[in-house]
């Protein structure tokens, strides 16, 4: 399968998601007691639902919104659980490590629609 890189044509929503991902990661690695309630609220939303938001946008092309939301929430939560669990088992658990995994997955899912498969039905 060949892929064409159409990263230069990122949609506004993708740019927003990528910016949110970057901002959330930066906020997460700040020292404790900085950022207050806004940081806390952002962390709860991004860490638990960040990958889900990216996946939801991707899935809308493949299934109805309600089903897409369910799959997205499940993926998001399981990314967090497994990311954290893998680092715990390896003895490398750190907040920035798990946040990094969540951010990477979010970024990858955000960019995925921009990597269109050439030929055949992408579905």
């Amino acid at each position: 399968m060949r892929f064409t890189n159409t990263m230069t044509t990122l949609r506004p929503v993708q740019i927003v998601l990528l910016s949110w991902t970057l901002l959330s990661f930066v906020l997460a690695v700040l020292p404790p007691d900085m950022g207050g309630t806004v940081r806390a609220l952002n962390a709860v939303l991004f860490i638990t639902l960040g990958p889900g938001c990216a996946l939801f946008l991707l899935l809308l092309e493949y299934m109805p919104p309600a089903e897409a939301a369910v799959v997205a929430i499940g993926t998001s939560l399981v990314t967090l659980v497994l990311g954290s669990q893998v680092l715990l088992i390896m003895g490398f658990w750190r907040t920035w490590g798990v946040t990094g995994i969540v951010a990477l997955v979010t970024a990858a899912l955000t960019l995925l629609p921009s990597l269109r498969a050439v030929g055949g039905d992408a579905r």
């Binding site: 959330s24 906020l27 997460a28 700040l30 020292p31 404790p32 007691d33 900085m34 950022g35 207050g36 940081r39 806390a40 962390a43 709860v44 991004f46 860490i47 638990t48 493949y62 299934m63 109805p64 309600a66 089903e67 939301a69 369910v70 799959v71 929430i73 499940g74 993926t75 939560l77 399981v78 967090l80 659980v81 497994l82 990311g83 954290s84 669990q85 680092l87 715990l88 003895g91 490398f92 658990w93 750190r94 907040t95 920035w96 798990v98 946040t99 969540v102 039905d121 992408a122 579905r123």
Partner: protein
Amino acid sequence: MRRRGAGTSAAPILALFGLIDQRVPVSRRLPPSRDDLLRVRDRTLAGLAPVQPLIFPVLVVVTGCAAATAGDQERIGSWGLVQALPGLYFISLALLTVSFFMELFGRGGRERQVVLAVHLVGLVVLLHGVAGFLEQEPRFPTAWLHAGYTEQILERHFAPGSVDARFTWPGFFGAAATVTGAAGLDSAIPLLRWAPIFMVLLYLPPLFVIGRQLTGSVTATWLGLWMFLLVNWVGQDYFAPQTLGFTLYLTAVAMLVAFFRQPSPGPGPLEQTPRWSWLTRGDLLAFDGRPDVETAPRTRVALIILLMVIQAGLAMTHQLSPIVLVLACGGLVLVGRCRLTVLPVIAGVFTLAWISVGTTDYWLGHLDTIFGGVGNVQEVLSNSVGERVEGSTVHLVVVRLRLALTASVWAMMVAAALLLWFRRRPPLTLFTLGIVPFATLAQNYGDEGVMRIFLFSSPFACLLVGQAVTSLLHLPRVKPAALVAALTLLPLFLVTRYGNESFEQVRPDEIDAIHALYRLAPRGADLVSPTSQVPWRFTYATDYDYGRPEYADAFLTGRRPAVRWLLGGGAENASGAYLVVTRSQEIYAYEALGQPRDWFDEVRPKLHSKNGYRLLFRNQDASIYEYEVPR
């Protein structure tokens, strides 16, 4: 001719709606005519039209939250939170319910779904956030304990499985520690207060998909969801692994019933028609609900992989949830409502693999706890029901109300299934999902077995009841009866859900006392509490030896040997021992353990130096004693 220069106070508002030209100096503008004002009103109302149906429920919820905040925590008594809530809170709840049913049985259209969803979110906030609004500290000592386990991972980056069984399924604690760390918090305690709202909101999307798919009716789904929120008294929505496990369970079930239910052969891997299923042979039973959501083979492969990943995550998060998911998959395959016939096997392998490898620290010493009750249903029932039916008179009423509500929901599930069956719409999938949790009776899950069965069963029971009621809506009086039932369930929910609040609330002075305990007691000391209702271990969760008196029951009755030999006759801990008694424990022993109301007044005089005790700290809600084995 209009007079110039007068009535200029409305000019900015009119300019906002483009009714007057702002470039004209204010002093030269004409006053607005009646027609102008009417036009402004009409335009404003037209602009508000899309959000108009949302204004009332939002206002009601805001009013209810404000009312709950104004409640008096000191008034929480044997009946729980209901005694402390002002009347305005109940009025808000009732108004929200009436508004929901008017919307549900009223107009149709896509916007109706948004309005109903806002009502549902409002109900979650009012019912599951009420303690957060009213109480000064986050409720429930076990949630504080889980905050301590979260801090253990946040600070020390590992989960010591030998300390507590929960650490051998650390998926939730690792996830919570990540959120806590990323939020810049030192502890997860600030998250405890709002965790129930957040987690219950996460239940709703999968439940909506399950309901819409299996009942085939959006009205039945909304009705079922409303009912679920009103009967879900078990309180497993706090900061706990069960909550995350339940969300993942519902997500997996939603995916199964939305994409993999129809017995048509799929070209993807693992997708086979369960030909041997006797129920689907020769269309013995009509297919229930909507057909599967159409997806391409490649999407289905991705979904199957995701289902396995969810099962893997679930296996590392909670003891019971992955087992129930295996049972649910197996049940659906057996009745021919899941074509992923290999999935239960794979899910079972994941679950057993984690128990075999990941939880050895725990089960090596607790084989009897895990397998001791297998097959002994009577013992399981006795543990989870019999042991709870004790305590004060009011507490017994609350417990019996819970049992009655639980039994009623299950009875209604069976009645609804029979009704739909007779109407040739057998709700096979929902009924199967509603009864498979009963299979966990074969395993002893401590004193919460029946509660967990109800947790896993009730969403499907409620959706079934919703479907049955919707099928009867053409009959007169069914709609008013549904509304009356929902209104009746409101106070019943508050009593059954928050009926233990007199000892499940956490008082600020109790927290002050525990902080004092950690200042006074050197690390490694024995910390003892007469009952389990103590909000400790929210920090230093693994740094002390936490326990109960050696002769706990006798200690509560003030028997001298039990008081004198707090830790039995064993070797003395070099770091010392400390006894902490809080008001919640005093109330718990009276309300739930059947002790006299003044039991601690009997015990307190015996906590003197001759028996080895020295009072170190005291405030209005807690006392801390240092204990040395008497010579």
